[in-house]
């Protein structure tokens, strides 16, 4: 008769710890059997009896479960203690293993923190996912002016995109929107120029009164801004950031009520925002001081000059706008609702500017509502690529480390054959032993993770510095937070299991009898296959890293030695910004004349000149060109680079002309009538004809086909192509015009090291005019290097990790080799006894190992050719399949591998054959 209750007991008994299983089963069976007998005496249906017994036996499940923790607890504690004791017995081995793994985990954790901060962290505000960011796109004929921050313009179609709005538009959004429960706005960051009384002015931003409230940011001290602060003529108050509070005031709680100088005035501090809140600007940018729109800032402050007048000049777009979605509202609701409001405000503002010409239509802006959970995201997007590449590099190194660890564990396990065989013979289950090995691996990983977390907290700053261009307010706190610690812990567990499982299984698959009987001829075949496979993998990964490093380094070298078209050596450059109150425009030209004259008399100076924009500084004007009589083909990119130059510019920079003449002082007096173009422009717009004497004009309108007579300029010379903006970019079509007064960059050619003369040159300028603001003293080499700072960082990073990977792979190689040799002592002894010479032995051993390396190299090259495609856009002057790089990488690999293989091989060959034959392996 079927007895389902007994089956159930049999099944559930598998859950019970083995030690207790027999007893437990007997107890349940005893009870059930007795119960069955008792019930059977009564007249009851057989099925009902069985059902009753089955129900009774269901409780066995809970009982068995209750016994689980006891089993695991006891066994695990025992495992951990045993494992810990073993690890402490082999201190150096343990230290090496933990250290290398800690480096791998630490680097990965640091990078994870960085990636988390840069890519994933949302603003630490209330419900960040309700926040939206407003942006717009439009055609080329914009309805606004004075955009701050700047807009981006597609050079071909002229389509524009931006994220700033007029105060009028913002005010209307705020008042009329139903989809957004709150709307707030903020300007770009500004900073007053340093003065003697205030050498380090804080970085500031202007915001609407609703800023802190809409974000849901409380004050940790004092209060945050309110709508009352926004009213015209409200008292000038400011809220400071926690970082600024810590750095400037040492977290002194008496800071409330103190004054701070910013935006050209004095503001009273009324509150401090919490730590971790860095504002809504882009990553890396954070304001120290936040003031409200109502503040009456003088137009001579550092704020872009339209900001204070934005309330009365509705054609000026200087505010970035964000909002919070109302309950149940979506982004498209908000977009549909605000679009007409924006267009009405834009049209009204443009009409108020007085520039609207009847009959000419402008392009209406189209509103876009994006998620604002992360604040502004431009830099985030640009950085994400770099973050991924760095992650890839660091992960590869970690994999190599793990492969090393597996080999180490395999070697250790093989040495414990006797112990394993004994325990198996004594009745331990294989599963038990596997668990033991896993626990040991997890212990290692746990120690490594702890050490790795420490390493990560040190190296996180380094990674960040490499990623984010050095800005005065690196707004990412260098600390390891909970998420990173969690990451390290999970990594440790995963790595511990992954690394431990293969050795655990391989080691416990032993022929007990053979080992106990004597001679420990273990089954090496599976083990050595795994080892060799891992080795091949390690070599392959090292090759990938070496190739990448080679490519980056060569890119860097190419950039550093690139021909820029003019003489870059011994040039000092600095920027001069005139102050509107001290330096009236009409007098600037003569001021610069005097400055240049004085600088040229400074000892050590060969020549001095000036230009509107710095060379190799990435900064320039980009209007559109109009060539009268030439019809612009559709889709042609007609942007040109416009540079203003002083009289002796071409001679000082040693930028040669290929046709015509240079600009002189007379051209400057004439203003804009005579210009010099470069070869690229001549090739594009005057192919095959002499451009000298021809006329061109520049305009802000991409669609213009003609220009008024008084805007035309005559070409008097053609200059050689040179790199003006960055070293990477091919020389763009460029127009050199005579200099017109405004901010300027000075270039000074010196006889010797320009850095040595920086102070005397500065003093010379000051002696002419002490009020001129001078910044950015650097040599042109340094200036150029700023444009490829990222390439340099990558070259350093990849070389470091490539070298590390190579070293690790070779340590692994050495370890496996040494172990192999140790185990083949008998075989070697036989060979030697049979007459093989030392050299032959060495060769035989090395050939084996180098064939592995060769396999790894081939695999690595294949992987490299695929993976380096992702970085091809970062290279300069070479393709991803670069002969010299590959040759050097592979050559280096073989050289180091040969060395790693040679040492144990040599040691094997010195072995005494008689002792070898007698060896117990």
């Amino acid at each position: 008769m079927a007895k389902p209750h007994f089956w159930l007991i049999a099944i559930v008994s598998r859950l019970v710890p083995r030690r207790l299983r027999a007893d437990w089963t007997r107890e349940w069976i005893g009870e059930l059997d007795h119960r069955e007998r008792v019930i059977s005496r009564w007249p009851r249906d057989g099925a009902a009896i069985r059902w009753h017994l089955f129900r009774r036996s269901l409780g066995a499940f809970r009982d068995a479960l209750w016994l689980q923790p006891r089993r695991l607890e006891e066994d695990c504690v025992q495992d951990v203690r045993y494992g810990a004791r073993l690890l402490l017995q082999h201190k150096t081995w343990t230290a090496v293993a933990v250290l290398t793994l800690a480096l791998g985990i630490g680097a990965n954790t640091a990078l994870f923190s960085v990636a988390d901060d840069v890519l994933m962290k949302t603003l630490p505000v209330r419900n960040p996912h309700e926040l939206v960011l407003l942006t717009w796109t439009s055609g080329p004929r914009l309805m606004g002016a004075g955009f701050s921050p700047g807009i981006s313009i597609d050079p071909v179609t002229g389509a524009s995109a931006g994220r700033s709005f007029s105060y009028l538009a913002f005010d209307r959004f705020r008042r009329e929107s139903r989809a957004l429960s709150d709307v707030f706005a903020f300007t770009t960051l500004f900073r007053d120029p340093p003065t003697n009384e205030n050498p380090q002015p804080p970085i500031g931003q202007m915001v609407s009164g609703s800023y802190h409230r809409a974000l849901g940011v409380p004050a940790v001290l004092g209060r945050t801004l309110t709508d009352a602060d926004d009213a015209d003529g409200a008292p000038q108050v400011a809220v400071i950031s926690d970082r600024f509070w810590k750095n400037r005031y040492g977290r002194d709680r008496a800071v409330i009520g103190r004054s701070i100088a910013t935006a050209g005035g004095l503001f009273t501090i009324v509150g401090v925002t919490p730590p971790g809140f860095d504002g809504t600007q882009d990553v890396g940018d954070s304001a120290d001081v936040t003031i409200a729109f109502g503040a009456a800032v003088p137009p001579t402050g550092a704020i872009p000059k339209f900001v204070p007048r934005m309330k009365v000049q509705p054609w000026v777009w200087t505010l970035m706008v964000m909002g919070r979605l109302g309950p149940g509202r979506t982004r498209s609701d908000a977009g549909a609702e605000l679009q007409p409001i924006l267009q009405a405000a834009a049209a009204e503002g443009w009409r108020a500017s007085g520039r609207a010409k009847s009959g000419s239509t402008r392009d209406a802006p189209v509103l876009h509502v994006e998620t604002g959970a992360k604040g502004l995201t431009d830099i985030r997007r640009a950085l994400s690529r770099s973050v991924w590449i760095m992650t890839g590099v660091v992960t590869l190194v970690l994999l190599i480390v793990c492969a090393n660890l597996v080999n180490l564990l395999l070697a250790r396990a093989a040495a414990r054959q006797r112990e394993i065989a004994t325990r198996l013979a004594l009745g331990a289950s294989r599963a038990r032993l596997v668990r033991q090995f896993l626990v040991e691996a997890l212990l290692l990983a746990a120690c490594a993770a702890a050490a790795g977390a420490v390493i990560a907290s040190w190296t996180k700053d380094a990674f960040l510095a490499w990623l984010v261009r050095v800005s005065p307010a690196i707004a990412i706190e260098p600390r390891i937070d909970v998420r990173a610690a969690l990451f390290a812990s999970i990594a440790a567990v995963v790595i511990g299991l992954a690394v431990g499982i293969v050795p655990a299984f391989a080691a416990t698959r032993v022929d007990v009898n053979a080992i106990i009987a004597g001679g420990s001829r273990s089954d090496r075949r599976p083990r050595s296959f795994i080892s060799r496979g891992l080795l091949v993998g390690q070599v392959a990964m090292s090759v990938v890293l070496l190739v990448a490093a080679g490519l980056f380094v060569r890119t860097l070298v190419n950039l550093q030695s690139a021909d820029v078209g003019f003489n870059m050596r011994n040039l000092l450059t600095f920027k001069a910004t005139p102050r509107p109150d001290k330096h009236p425009r009409a007098q600037l030209a003569s001021l610069y004349e005097r400055i240049l004259a004085r600088v040229q008399t400074t000892p050590g100076v060969v020549a001095a000149t000036s230009s509107r924009y710095p060379l190799l500084g990435g900064d320039f004007a980009m209007p559109f060109i109009v060539v009268p009589g030439r019809i612009r083909p559709d889709g042609e990119d007609s942007t040109v680079y416009e540079q203003g130059v002083w009289d002796n510019f071409f001679e000082t920079m040693q930028l040669t002309l290929v046709r015509g003449r240079v600009l002189t002082a007379r051209d400057r007096a004439d203003r804009r009538l005579h210009v010099v173009i470069n070869e690229a422009l001549a090739r594009k717009y005057f192919p095959g004809i002499d451009p000298i004497g021809r006329r061109i004009a520049v305009t802000k309108d991409p669609g213009a086909q003609s220009a008024p007579e008084d805007a035309l300029m005559e070409i008097v010379g053609v200059a050689r192509d040179a790199k003006y903006t960055t070293v990477r970019q091919a020389p763009p079509t460029t127009i050199f015009e005579p200099f017109s007064p405004g901010a300027a960059t000075f270039e000074v050619r010196t006889a010797g090291d320009p850095r040595a003369l920086a102070d005397s040159i500065r003093a010379s300028v000051r002696s002419v005019d002490a009020d001129l603001l001078l910044t950015g003293f650097r040599t042109l080499d340094e200036q150029a290097e700023l444009t490829y700072a990222r390439e340099r960082h990558f070259a350093i990073l990849s070389s470091t990790f490539g070298a590390l990977a190579l070293a690790l792979a070779c340590i692994g190689l050495y370890g496996v080799m040494a172990y192999n040799v140790a185990h083949r002592t008998r075989e070697i002894g036989i060979r030697m006894a049979l007459g093989a010479e030392r050299a032959a032995i060495v060769r035989f051993i090395m050939r084996d190992m180098l064939s592995l390396v060769a396999a790894g190299a081939v695999l690595g090259l294949i992987a490299a050719s695929a993976l380096t495609r992702t970085i091809s856009s970062m290279l300069f002057g070479l393709s991803t399949v670069d002969g010299p790089t590959i040759a050097v990488s592979v050559g280096l690999l073989f050289a180091v591998a040969a060395l790693a293989a040679y040492l144990p091989a040599r040691r094997a060959a010195i072995v005494n054959p008689v002792a070898a034959l007698r060896a117990d392996t």
Binding site: E27, D33, H34, R37, R56, G59, D63
Partner: protein, 107 residues
């Protein structure tokens, strides 16, 4: 089990003290499910409150069935039980009922 006994554990102890020393008998008397009674018994055994014993093999063999396990109170268990009864006054000791002597003593 230095801390106090839970209500269900007290009930179980009382059952044992009343002579219901086999697992299923305790289940019948207390009305608690087997998934409660057995873990409680294990816990109490860990804590030294009860002891488990197997009935004499002769007894089981005479009835041609597998032997059963039974539980007895230890000295500590008796103390714990009386303390607990003071706390759970509803289970007052006067309700101790002896129905019959357990099989082991008959042998």
């Amino acid at each position: 089990m230095a801390s106090y006994l839970s209500y269900s554990s007290t009930v179980i102890l009382q059952a044992i003290a009343s002579g219901y020393q086999y697992g299923f008998d305790i289940i019948d008397l207390t009305g608690l499910p087997s998934g409660t009674v057995y873990p409680a018994l294990r816990r109490m055994e860990d804590g030294g409150v009860v002891l488990s014993r197997w009935e004499k093999p002769e007894v089981a063999q005479s009835e041609s069935r597998p032997p059963r396990k039974y539980y007895v109170l230890t000295k500590a268990g008796e103390t714990a039980l009386s303390d607990a009864l003071k706390r759970y006054r509803l289970l007052d000791g006067s309700r101790r009922v002896r129905i019959g002597r357990p099989a082991r003593e008959r042998a």
